[in-house]
């Protein structure tokens, strides 16, 4: 099933992620992410907070095809996203991912039954299950997205050296595995949050001039 995992994790998978910075655009504009070291700290914090939470939700979604349980996880995502702007982003990315996942696994009843506007981590977990992946793999997908999207956005916005970014991502790789493991084995759905990311997400939404959708 590794090939299916790589397909879903590929940045070229057409699920809309390329237009979202995960708060990196706002952090760059605020002057708090300016170079490779500050980006690394940003990514580390993001991974262990919203990354862990998304991974926990995705892993839980990958364990079930029951619409009632998925609806419950969708409400749990809602409660874990206090910013209305970021809730809208999560629903939008969920819709975009659902479109691609249904194209990839058209026979999957769970994907077919998911309501449009389901939150992104729940769709991600469902897509992983449809692709034959485990909950642990779903968590890995979520932490990968939590880090790689903002990393690419910062690379574009700051004109960073891509090789230095590769070094950062390689250093973080064991942490990604650790967080995915924690998320997939958690007895209670994680709710780790990052105050600055909430603040950035809510404020960025009202900007007139922006390159990224979030």
């Amino acid at each position: 099933m590794t090939a299916a995992l790589l397909l879903l994790a590929d940045g070229r998978f057409p699920a809309g992620g390329h237009a979202h910075s995960g708060g990196a655009a706002a952090a760059v504009a605020a002057g708090t992410v300016t170079d490779v070291p500050s980006l690394e700290r940003f990514l580390l914090g993001r991974l262990h907070t919203v990354g862990l939470t998304a991974a926990g939700l995705a892993a839980a979604a990958a364990r079930t095809a029951d619409p009632a349980e998925l609806a419950e996880l969708d409400r749990a995502t809602e409660a874990r996203t206090p910013s209305a702007a970021l809730r809208a982003v999560s629903r939008r990315l969920g819709r975009q991912l659902l479109r691609a996942a249904r194209a990839g696994w058209p026979a999957d009843a769970g994907l077919a039954a998911l309501p449009a506007g389901t939150h992104h981590p729940v769709v991600l977990g469902t897509a992983a299950r449809a692709a034959g992946l485990t909950d642990r793999r779903a968590a890995e997908l979520a932490v990968h997205e939590a880090v790689s999207g903002p990393a690419t956005a910062a690379l574009r916005l700051l004109g960073l050296d891509p090789y230095q970014l590769v070094a950062v991502l390689a250093r973080l790789a064991p942490q990604l595995d650790l967080v995915a493991e924690r998320a997939a084995t958690a007895t209670r759905l994680p709710a780790a949050s990052a105050p600055l990311l909430d603040l950035y997400g809510e404020r960025y939404d009202s900007w007139k001039v922006k390159l990224f959708a979030s």
Partner: protein, 223 residues
């Protein structure tokens, strides 16, 4: 002619998260380099067609709302008929490789302001290689201008060679910038074979007429 959108549509249906309606709007993409007149062409098309057709516009400006606001400011359409998509610094990705945000935007417009006859999807200004995915639009227009140099048709590139219509805009400036329209016409024909191109000068009254006529033909075939 290689264009047969209805056959394309039935042969390779667009995968949609929304249930397919009985008939969706014709979708036409407008691409081309920065400053060639894409937004002005969209605005002129809307003015020319809005009385007879139900229209929607999706813009893909790098600054998200800039083009949408131009259209709003010039009141070419009601606000609920215009929407903007952010492209994360990669306008070509949003119209070609990962069209999901644009598809969402088109479907939301149709849901909000529909039923629509025609949706224009305007790309952010990009380079000569940027073309629209056939999964997003049924036909595409590539807009260049004489001020960009009369060599552009000769350079070719997917936009110039494969767009369903090539628009060479700002002919009123040709003399000022020393562009030879005859050379551009010859090169365009050489690059495009039977695919049509038109010269426009949007500064002139109803300067968009050749494009309007082409769009009407597409609509007639779509209906």
């Amino acid at each position: 002619m290689h264009r047969d959108h209805i056959a394309d549509e039935s042969g390779a249906p667009v995968v949609s998260a929304a249930p397919p309606g009985p008939r969706r709007a014709l979708r036409i993409g407008l691409g081309g380099p920065v400053g060639s007149g894409k937004t002005a062409t969209v605005a002129a098309l809307c003015r020319a067609l809005r009385a007879e057709l139900s229209l929607g516009v999706v813009t893909n400006d790098i600054y998200t709302t800039e083009d949408a606001e131009f259209l709003l400011r010039h009141a070419v359409l009601a606000p609920e008929r215009i929407t903007a998509v952010a492209t994360g610094c990669c306008p070509h990705t949003a119209i070609r490789d990962d069209i999901s945000a644009n598809l969402e935007a088109v479907e939301e417009l149709e849901a909000k302001a529909g039923p629509l006859d025609l949706v224009l999807v305007e790309s952010g200004g990009d380079n000569l290689t940027a073309t629209f995915s056939r999964g997003l639009v049924d036909a595409q227009i590539f807009v260049i201008d004489v001020a960009g140099g009369d060599k552009i048709p000769r350079k070719g590139g997917p936009g110039v060679t494969s767009a369903d219509l090539l628009v060479i805009n700002k002919t009123d400036l040709a003399e000022l910038v020393g562009a030879d329209l005859a050379v551009m016409a010859r090169d365009a024909t050489a690059q495009r074979g039977e695919r049509p191109f038109v010269f426009t000068s949007l500064a002139a009254p109803d300067g968009v007429a050749p494009v309007t006529a082409w769009v009407r033909e597409r609509l007639a075939g779509w209906g």
